[in-house]
Symmetry: C2
Subunit: 331 residues, 2 copies
């Protein structure tokens, strides 16, 4: 399928603005960090927008709260269902608690334990499935139809994209125009929302999405203008294991994103280690994708101003030692 029609774009920057108003007083305005070491190494000013400090530990809260806020009252009363590898789950669970909407979350059995516990802790009912044998969309559709629940998809929905775009909006508001914005890419919700904000607030800014090499469906889709998919890619960046861009996000990515980059597993681990050790930021593998592309030199803006969206910090610390040992040996 070829996406070239303006009419297919289901989200505009106005939607991001409206989402920002809705999130006011509910989402955290997350801090922006800088590092002298990064600036020396990349010869650019670099601003890390740390959504790891967002409520529930990731940018996902922005889209989830926005989407749940906009549901009609009757649907809010019946409740919502989400399927998620983790961060969307927690975001939906917490948003549901804040808005008094019952939530059910369909979650792979091998999701990081920390995400599972947090989701239940926020009061959601968790339904687990085996990623190898069950299609989560089918399972979610069955449960939601049985129980009359509204499905809130993890990224492919206009309200989710608009909410996600508010993080980049805050970054531009705080630091002004940029030359380059690096955004991790799973299903493309954060990437397309960020690109909408960049187009409106910093028109000259190059927006580049970053994926793991092992889950490069969006990079191939972007290049070929045809939707490619991956199936259970073997990457530590669990937030980027999504099978493909979606009907909402793919056209937005094609229209507003300037390029895609991929990084190796070793680069992701090295970036994580750097962010932890030098910047004292607990960042999950997916959250380190943008930093990885910059620190490895695959996407740079020498002499320029660079923004990096650090998408989340929900990493299972009981396995972190292994990851970090691998990062050490990968150096």
């Amino acid at each position: 399928m070829i996406h070239e029609e303006v009419s297919e774009l289901q989200v505009s920057y106005g939607d991001v603005e409206e989402a920002a108003s809705r999130l006011e007083g509910h989402a955290r305005r997350t801090p922006v960090f800088t590092s002298g070491t990064v600036e020396e190494r990349t010869e650019s000013r670099v601003f890390f927008k740390c959504e790891s400090f967002q409520r529930a530990g990731a940018f996902k809260f922005r889209g989830a709260f926005n989407a749940l806020s906009r549901l009609p009252e009757e649907q809010q009363r019946r409740g919502v269902l989400a399927y998620s590898s983790g961060n969307h789950a927690q975001a939906i669970a917490l948003s549901g608690r804040l808005l008094e909407i019952p939530t059910t979350v369909v979650m792979p059995g091998d999701a990081p334990e920390v995400k599972l516990r947090a989701t239940e802790g926020y009061g959601a009912e968790v339904v687990r499935y085996d990623r190898q044998v069950t299609n989560r969309e089918e399972l979610g559709a069955r449960i939601s139809s049985e129980r009359g629940l509204s499905v809130v998809p993890p990224y492919d929905h206009p309200d989710i994209v608009a909410g996600a775009g508010t993080a980049a909006r805050e970054l531009f508001e705080e630091v002004g125009p940029l030359d380059l914005l690096l955004v991790c890419c799973g299903g493309g919700g954060l990437l397309s929302g960020s690109a909408l904000a960049a187009r409106a607030l910093s028109p000259g800014c190059r927006v580049v999405g970053v994926e793991p090499e092992r889950a490069d469906d969006a990079a191939r889709s972007f290049r070929d203008k045809t939707l490619h998919t991956v199936h259970n890619p073997d990457t530590i960046a669990d937030g980027a294991r999504t099978p493909s861009l979606g009907d909402v996000t793919f056209p937005l990515v094609l229209r507003h994103v300037d390029g895609m980059a991929t990084v190796s597993e070793g680069a992701i681990l090295r970036a994580m280690l750097f962010l932890w050790e030098r910047m004292k930021l607990v960042v999950e593998p997916t959250g380190a994708l943008g930093a990885a592309a910059l620190l490895e030199g695959s996407v740079t803006a020498p002499g320029g101003r660079v923004g990096v969206i650090v998408s989340g910090g929900n990493v299972d610390l009981r396995t972190a030692g292994d990851l970090l040992a691998r990062a050490g040996s990968a150096e």
Copy 2:
């Protein structure tokens, strides 16, 4: 020895103010974090002042930069020597680089590798010694006399105390008066500096120092008004392994601090895990002491406003997995 004379107090809040001016534009104004989970659990408003994000990863930069700035030009030219288990070392090394003062650092051979590498990275000459057989003060005195270097002690110096106090000063400026301020205690520099700031900016605030149970020399000294010491205490909080309070800090602690608390090794690990996992903050064991006392319920202020100084984030991530596994099993 009994310390009760006002004349023995070598630092006043005015010195903290002057240090703050000197640090302007050099030290980072570190962010203050909050956590809904902590507030629910402790039934109080809690503000974490995160010196883990300070330059060189700990509050120590404040004192080191202040002390080096105040050295006469001739002494600056010849250079300085510091002995330190780690954070003071990095702070001196970085301050020396910024002020163009040559630095030599005497460091125990078992100091965390991350601190050692960072100290060398900032351009200091590192001299290692065996903590079990060598007295670092004697070694430092010998080298400094041979080379004509000025010794900058890690905590027991008025300029170090005054610099350290600027962190609490920023906290009060940002969040207003508090009912309780929790500060980790090794040699008492951060604690006495923080207490000076509290007395001036929030006179009703109870200031409590927190030590590991296994290195409780300051708690005993405070109780008995007599200086107690510990020798190489077996605690993961390496910043609190200092043998005792000092001539400068002990009188200040006796005069301005309201109480001392101690926490178990398990409590330190659980607090570290909480700060990492729930608040996404990379904090070293010593940096988690204040949070440990609060989260364990040993010092509380129900219904009140609490400040916690998170002193640093320089933990060796290659050993973090072990620590965190212990934290998990200690739950």
